[in-house]
């Protein structure tokens, strides 16, 4: 009884404190409701989801050889397990220290599993596709661009004139270019400069272009973190007898990265979404797969279904990334120990 009373009081306070308030709220609720009904009706009755249900493996793995499908499956399940472990792991634990190393190892593991080579049949990168390729692009460019970005950020604050100018020039230059131009450069111009016969594969070229581009943004994010740390900490470290490398490694950098973490998450999510640009450059990552499937006469005209499905996948992956970063933030939080 009492509970009911609190609920009714809550409603009265928040939705109907005055007559105008009530009208506006009912009106808004009505609009939301009618939209919801329409959307749900469309999802349930009008939409034909065969483009998704019939092509599920394609969305996941692209045209990866059937006999070797266990490899991308294994990789994706390792990633999912790792996400669950990371999210459910208690804050202080002996294993917690291992997690970052495992996360870094995920990338070489994935490339080894996808490409093959030692012990398992090699699969050409042209056969990679779907979510696997999207993840591969995102993770490997992320892994490459973070150290590069940190180096650029440090270089930009260096006392050495040449290094400082070079880093500054590089960052300004890369930031001033649209990503699509960098990607075109990577896909179309690099092969012209390379001697005949020598060929860097397309996935690697894409990863290189993405890393070089993202590194300049990461450098600026890290610089923001570096500048937030008061100079007195430097002086205190010097007073303790630490040399400049130790100061950087033990005192400045950990704090700077912690400060720039939200911005870095932004970059990571942006990177994931930017990989969809590769579909206009002929890689069949998840966006490219969708576009190819929409050209299949069996699925012509199913644009809405295809793209709604895509939006859901991107949303899911991005949300997981956001959760992971939140988890990391709380693990690194030293304010209330």
């Amino acid at each position: 009884m009492k509970k009911l009373e609190t609920i009714s009081r809550y409603i009265k306070r928040n939705f109907a404190s005055s007559k105008l308030d009530l009208t506006i709220n009912t009106f808004l609720l009505f609009i939301i409701w009618s939209f919801l009904v329409k959307i749900i009706y469309w999802i349930r009755f009008n939409a034909e989801w065969d483009i998704v249900t019939k092509n599920f493996p394609l969305y996941l793995f692209g045209s990866y050889p059937k006999a070797e499908l266990w490899r991308p499956t294994l990789w994706i399940s390792v990633i999912i397990t790792l996400i669950i472990v990371t999210l459910s792991c208690p804050r202080k634990n002996n294993y917690t220290k291992l997690l970052p190393i495992i996360w870094i190892l995920i990338v070489p593991l994935g490339i080894f599993l996808l490409a093959g080579g030692i012990g398992i049949t090699p699969v050409a990168s042209t056969d990679w596709g779907g979510i696997t390729l999207t993840l591969c692009l995102t993770l490997s460019s992320g892994l490459l661009s973070l150290p590069l970005g940190i180096l650029l950020a440090i270089g930009r604050q260096s006392n050495l004139f040449a290094i400082r100018k070079f880093c500054k020039l590089y960052i300004e230059f890369m930031r001033a270019m649209p990503l699509i131009a960098v990607l075109f450069f990577g896909q179309l111009l690099i092969p012209i400069f390379l001697p005949m016969g020598l060929e860097i594969n397309r996935v690697m070229r894409a990863v290189l272009a993405f890393s070089l581009f993202t590194a300049s943004y990461i450098a600026e994010d890290i610089r923001g973190g570096l500048q937030a740390i008061p100079n007195t900490q430097n002086e205190a470290a010097a007073a303790l007898g630490l040399d400049s490398i130790q100061t950087f490694q033990l005192i400045i950098m950990p704090q700077a990265i912690k400060i720039s973490l939200p911005a870095l998450t932004n970059q990571a999510i942006g990177l994931l979404q930017n990989t969809s640009l590769m579909s206009i450059l002929g890689l069949v990552e998840i966006f490219g797969i969708s576009r190819s499937l929409l050209a299949n006469p069996n699925f012509i005209g199913k644009y809405l279904e295809g793209y709604v499905w895509l939006a859901c996948i991107y949303w899911l992956i991005c949300t997981l990334m956001a959760l992971l970063s939140k988890n990391l933030e709380s693990k690194l939080n030293t304010d209330n120990i």
Partner: protein, 349 residues
């Protein structure tokens, strides 16, 4: 100092040009394909009927069949192909840099792409004569372009489509009212809403759009063609060996249809030719008497390999764009010359 610098620069240039000249007398790309035992074929992957992804992850379409025919002729098996999806801007670079061997990506054959002053490609014979067409509702009883006098016609604005429409109607002195839209989807929507009697675009695109309609049978594409878009495979310029091989593989497909040789009856024809020594031209074609294949750097049974793996041109067309396919486009210009079409193969002698 400057002198030293200049000398360095000059020797570097010399070295580089040395490399370039070494590359020039390299072997034909055809030999490379054979040593690699794989044909790398540039396709679109996003054009209904020409190349698209099937649910099992394989590519299908006319452009894909051409790649398969080439692989069957060069390497003996239609499965020795690696498809490389390419977008329009990167397709020519991909040929130039050698990333792909052959481009089979419904590319319009024109002067500036074929010439050394332009893209410097070598085009193979046309595999599909596309062209701008008109679609009308079948209950309107319109069958010829002349019946569209004073009609409203939906067209995408700012494209060559609009210009072609104008040219064609002006030439025939037919009045019409263009109703302009931004892109094809809007043109289709306008047409379906009844804003215009006919809509215009490339015929293959009209056919593709039609399959998305609720009642595709109630719309027909007129036989009149307003512009020419001959689509042909291409390979790098200046490599006659490869270009010849590609050219004659495509002519083989057409020759087979002319002679009524297809997947089903090829074995019978081989048997017939083996027994009957008087059928010299057929024996040469099927590789029973050697000679033809060698001349274009292929094995003598290349013709048999092609037909066994893809069938003749008519088979390919019917499979992907024929009456029973999901994307029916009337054969029209794409018929044999003997049936009022444009496809004709020079004698394979």
């Amino acid at each position: 100092m400057i002198k030293l610098y200049l000398t360095g620069l000059m020797s570097l240039t010399l070295m580089l040009s040395g490399c370039a000249s070494l590359e020039n007398d390299k072997r034909s790309r055809l030999d490379l394909i054979k040593t690699r035992d794989k044909l790398i074929c540039g396709v679109s992957g996003k054009i209904p009927g020409f190349s698209f992804l099937k649910s099992d992850g394989s590519y299908q379409g006319i452009d894909i069949e051409i790649c398969k025919a080439l692989a069957a002729a060069f390497l003996g098996s239609p499965n020795k192909v690696q498809y490389r999806p390419l977008t329009a801007p990167e397709r020519f670079t991909a040929i130039k840099t050698g990333e792909i061997d052959v481009l089979s990506r419904n590319t319009t054959f024109n002067l500036s792409r074929d010439s050394i002053g332009g893209n410097g490609l070598t085009f193979a014979p046309v595999v599909f004569y596309d062209g701008q067409g008109l679609m009308v509702k079948s209950n309107s009883k319109i069958t010829r372009i002349e019946q569209l006098n004073d009609a409203n016609i939906c067209v995408g604005s700012g494209t060559t489509t609009e210009q072609n429409l104008n040219d064609a109607f002006e030439e025939k002195k037919i009045n019409y009212k263009p109703i302009k839209y931004q892109d094809l989807n809007q043109v289709v929507a306008g047409y379906l809403q009844g804003r215009c009697k006919a809509m215009t675009s490339d015929r293959s695109q009209l056919a593709a759009a039609r399959t998305g309609f609720k009642n595709p049978n109630r719309h027909i594409i007129l036989n009149d063609v307003l512009s020419k878009e001959p689509l042909a495979p291409a390979s790098i310029g200046g490599d006659q060996k490869l270009a010849d091989a590609v050219r004659w593989v495509i002519y083989s497909l057409i020759t087979a249809e002319e002679l009524d040789i297809n997947k089903a009856n090829i074995d019978k024809k081989i048997k017939l030719a083996t027994e009957d020594k008087s059928k010299t031209s057929l024996r040469r074609l099927l590789g029973i008497d050697p000679g033809l294949g060698q001349k274009i750097g292929l094995s003598d049974d290349f013709f048999v390999n092609i037909i066994k793996s893809t069938g003749n041109y008519g088979d390919i067309y019917n499979k992907h764009l024929g009456k029973d396919s999901n994307l029916p486009i009337p054969r029209g210009l794409n018929n044999l010359y003997s049936k009022d079409g444009l496809h004709i193969a020079p004698p394979m002698k």
